[in-house]
Symmetry: C2
Subunit: 294 residues, 2 copies
């Protein structure tokens, strides 16, 4: 009866089915081959600077139609003014700087005494002089002195850090941190007069609304953090370099930062508490970190 | 005739074929679903600090059996000695530091005049004071003053950079760099008296030969680079922050560095050439980079 109703389908249904299945199969197979190629490449490029190219190319495609330079095309080049120091001056200055930075310690106990905001301005201005890929300056510094916001940041960080310490970090990591006596209680987040939150901008927004590529944004922002930490030390204040695991999105939302910004480090800034202690750490010696090829 | 020879196959071949095709199809479909899940997760974690956990957990597994802390367990905690500056001193010092670092410019034209190695030592010592995850100090600084090695580094960098500029970087990136007048010819690599190559150690080696986890090695090393660049400026020398794309492995092999070290930045260090010029760049203003929440 079926044969009479649908003579073609009952007789040739398998041909049609095979055609459909074969088509889907070939399409999927092609897709997998393509994905595998990406996967192999991704793995090959893991931990290698070269994967930056790919990321940038991807961003390139998004901004393909804006082929104007981010910098003015007729940018002038001017003579670099420089007064050459004597060899003795060079050595004294280099040595003086070493003495300043070697006195820096990571401080976990803060005084709640306020710090003038003008000092914070100078420190942020210093960090903003960092070099950046194609002079994109891909950073935003958020200075929080509002007590309620500090409390909310502390709540976010402590909630996540408790999970980090208890579950995510594993025995090895928490064992490594034991001698430093750190845990998920971060009192300094509410005692320090300022919390500086450094965001990298993974891309910028041009006046016409188009995306602007930020080359090496993470690296540039971390270099700026190095200058920021040094500025805090040079000024005479103390800080703690922290990278709150998994807190980025929640803190970004709390501070109302746009989605192109990602939290890199959180630095409480202020005076140390009167009874502040530091672990009696030694630094590696010069011969442990320097290799000379001359 | 065929029907007589293979009665089963000619009559039922399509059943067999459909079964095989359906099996392959289902298997591939499952594979794709699984891969997509990984992809989605990877994308979700992209540019997010949280993927560090995954990387560290993977390293954790490799070093699972060494559950000793990298730091001494009985690490003493000592009082932090601190002389509190007056608010005026704080401001003057912060302002002084800003004046020093804001004078820093990226220099592309170097004098070949030698720099005393003692100055380089002080600069590297300063960089070595950077904070690092669990005090792992995951960096190696290679100071090259040997002319032949500098020539070989230049050859590696220029060969790769020519491909970068012509093929890999794309129109947008090279257009963005046009106003800075950079290209793949890097004369400074052979004229500058010193090339400082900064490597991050993605893991360390314990005395017993086991791997030691280096938390946040890239971030810590970039922060050290920020201090290094500042030390060079403070001493009275000039540099250029470069990240030679794709040259890492070749330079690592040339310098005989182990496989746990990856090149992060290359800094030529010396005096500027007498006729050195710099692009007439402006930096963002404080209000462009600072957000105050008070």
């Amino acid at each position: 009866m079926l044969t009479e109703l649908f003579p073609f389908w009952t007789k040739y249904w398998y041909h049609v089915l095979i055609t459909i299945v074969a088509y889907i199969f070939l399409k999927l197979f092609y897709k997998i081959l393509k994905k595998d190629a990406i996967f192999i490449e991704k793995n090959k490029q893991n931990f290698d600077i070269s994967n930056i190219i790919k990321q940038l190319k991807e961003t390139n495609q998004e901004t393909e139609d804006s082929e104007e330079s981010a910098l003015p095309k007729d940018l002038k080049h001017i003579p670099y003014e420089y007064k050459r120091p004597s060899e003795m001056e060079l050595f004294c200055q280099a040595s003086e700087f070493y003495k300043i930075v070697t006195a820096r310690r990571t401080i976990r106990f803060f005084s709640s005494d306020p710090v003038p905001k003008e000092v914070i301005y100078e420190i942020i201005k210093a960090a903003g002089t960092a070099p950046s890929g194609a002079h994109t300056e891909p950073w935003t510094f958020v200075a929080v002195s509002n007590q309620k916001i500090k409390e909310q940041i502390r709540y976010i960080v402590e909630s996540e850090e408790e999970i980090n310490y208890k579950k995510r970090m594993g025995v090895k990591w928490t064992t490594d941190l034991l001698p430093l006596r750190t845990n998920w209680i971060k009192e300094y987040l509410t005692t320090a007069p300022y919390l500086l939150l450094v965001f990298k901008q993974i891309y910028g927004i041009l006046p016409n609304g188009k995306k602007k590529i930020h080359y090496y944004n993470e690296m540039s922002t971390c270099i700026a953090c190095g200058i920021l930490i040094t500025a805090i030390q040079y000024a005479g204040l103390v800080t703690l370099t922290s990278t709150p695991l998994n807190c980025g999105p929640a803190i970004r939302n709390l501070l109302g930062r746009p989605s192109n910004e990602k939290l890199v480090v959180l630095l409480p800034v202020g005076y140390p508490a009167k009874d502040a202690t530091v672990p009696d750490l030694q630094r590696k010696s010069l011969s442990d970190i320097l290799v000379e090829i001359d």
